[in-house]
């Protein structure tokens, strides 16, 4: 086995339908509150009428007018969450430690608000000029540049895209870079702001969204519900964190990444099984040690059955002893950002020994036979947890986390 440096989490930030910071995110998850509600205002000509949108906020409370000219909504959410994570890690924007830190950010959709505003002007309103900041504001990598700029991060910075696993892949990349000694500190996470006319029409066309609510693993589930937000983490080598006396939330111990090489939207049970097995193997964890899985749990007809089957196969008898919940029932499916928000939820579950529930739960699907922690959070010691994210296009990730000691 190759000797790797240990990687710990020292800062968290979360912007979601549940609030503009990680403490509101966590307290609402523990209370089982769902942020899913009718879109306000409703979008004309779009079938999707519910979502977990970030509560209304005034961007000018966070950014100057000058800064806002370059910040698409997905960058705004990302920078707010990144600033929270860095402050939470007891680091200050621009300080020396951040000079060499990385910013590795995922996004499923990128700067769609900016792109669509320009396309609307050109295609619909027949204007002849595009706004000159369309490229720097809307390009998929803009969010990494904006985080680097706002926090004074001067190490490697780039964006990863793998649809709904973008955040997990970004976190894994940061972990691997720290394990291998390339960097000591990484700001990692993901951001998405998908409530635009073009994106909602495109999701309409896929026919996978619910008009009721998000009920993962339930018999009467009717599909996924979109959300928006950003989840950010500060990762550090254990040595670096201990040296500066940082508070450690948990340790990120392993990852599994697979791709299906198959159907573009239908999940593949083997791809999911392999991702979880690889994460356990990489983390050197016995399946019986896992207390909690934060599931991908989209509430689509196929995901929940396939993910359940995969968990049964990987964990055998222990699958009936571990807790599985889908926090998407509360923060919605914020595309790439979901995977980062779910890692934040999983870390806080380990830190507080509380398992957030699957909200909106009615009756389990007969093919969904696990303990989904219905509707009510559970106070229980969580030593080892995993977070699953499976993206459209058959891109699967599973991340293993452990209580730090």
């Amino acid at each position: 086995m190759i000797k790797r440096r240990r990687v710990v989490i020292t800062g968290l930030g979360a912007v979601s339908g549940l609030g503009l910071n990680a403490s509101e995110f966590w307290s609402n998850l523990v209370a089982g509150h769902s942020a899913i509600k009718p879109l306000d205002p409703p979008m004309e000509g779009v079938k999707i009428n519910i979502g977990a949108a970030v509560p209304e906020f005034d961007p000018e409370e966070y950014f100057s007018l000058d800064e806002l000219t370059l910040l698409d909504r997905y960058s705004q959410l990302a920078v707010i969450a990144a600033q929270e994570a860095v402050l939470d890690a007891n680091l200050i924007s621009g300080e020396e430690i951040l000079n060499d830190a990385a910013a590795i950010i995922g996004s499923g959709a990128g700067g769609k608000h900016t792109d669509e505003a320009t396309y609307d002007q050109l295609y619909k309103q027949q204007r002849t000029r595009a706004h000159p900041l369309t490229i720097p504001k809307g390009m998929p990598s803009a969010v990494a540049s904006m985080i680097s700029r706002h926090l004074g991060i001067k190490g490697p910075a780039f964006v990863l895209a793998s649809a709904c696993a973008s955040g997990s892949h970004a976190i894994i990349q940061g972990m691997a870079m720290i394990q291998s000694g390339i960097i000591d500190v990484a700001l990692v996470g993901a951001s998405d702001a998908p409530f635009t006319y073009g994106l909602l029409k495109s999701w309409d066309a896929l026919r996978v969204t619910s008009s009721d609510t998000c009920r993962p693993f339930c018999k009467d589930r009717s599909g996924m519900v979109l959300g928006e937000g950003a989840g950010m983490l500060v990762l550090e080598s254990e040595e670096h964190a201990l040296k500066r006396g940082a508070r450690i939330y948990a340790e990120i111990v392993g990852c599994g990444m697979t791709s299906d090489a198959g159907h573009i939207t239908r999940p593949d049970v083997d791809g999911i099984i392999n991702a979880m097995n690889k994460a356990l193997h990489h983390a050197e964890i016995d399946p019986g040690e896992v207390d909690y899985i934060n599931a991908h749990g989209t509430a689509t007809l196929s995901n929940d059955v396939v993910e359940t089957e995969a968990i049964n196969q990987v964990f055998g008898k222990h699958s009936k002893e571990l807790a599985v919940s889908s926090t998407k029932s509360m923060h919605g499916h914020a595309l790439g950002a979901s995977s980062a928000l779910e890692i934040v939820a999983t870390i806080l579950s380990i830190y507080h020994d509380i398992i957030p529930p699957t909200a909106n739960f009615t009756v389990a699907d007969e093919k969904c036979n696990l303990d989904y922690v219905p509707n009510k959070a559970r106070h229980q010691v969580v030593n080892v947890a995993m977070s699953n994210s499976f993206a459209f296009g058959g891109l699967n990730t599973s991340i293993a986390l452990k209580k730090y000691n």
Binding site: S64, L65, D66, T69, R129, H131, P132, L133, P136
Partner: protein, 75 residues
């Protein structure tokens, strides 16, 4: 007055007071960097329905330069 409209555009992009924009003001001194300059050009083209060729950009230093260029293009 062309000046009033130009001053409004510059003040909006630079986030400065409109009173600070004078014909002799240098754009850089008003906070118009290269990125803001392309936004000013975009707004000028939209407002006056003109095309400002890229070649004239290096010679624009002051607000007066903008006024002269617009005059030249419109003639």
């Amino acid at each position: 007055m062309i000046f009033d409209e130009v001053a409004q555009i510059i003040a909006k992009v630079a986030h400065c007071k409109i009173e600070d924009v004078k014909p002799e003001s240098e754009l850089m001194a008003l906070g118009i960097d290269s990125l803001k300059a392309i936004t000013v050009l975009f707004e000028l083209e939209e407002t006056f329905d003109i095309e400002i060729p890229n070649e004239v950009i290096p010679s624009i230093v002051t607000v007066n330069d903008i006024l002269n260029k617009i005059d030249g293009i419109r003639q």
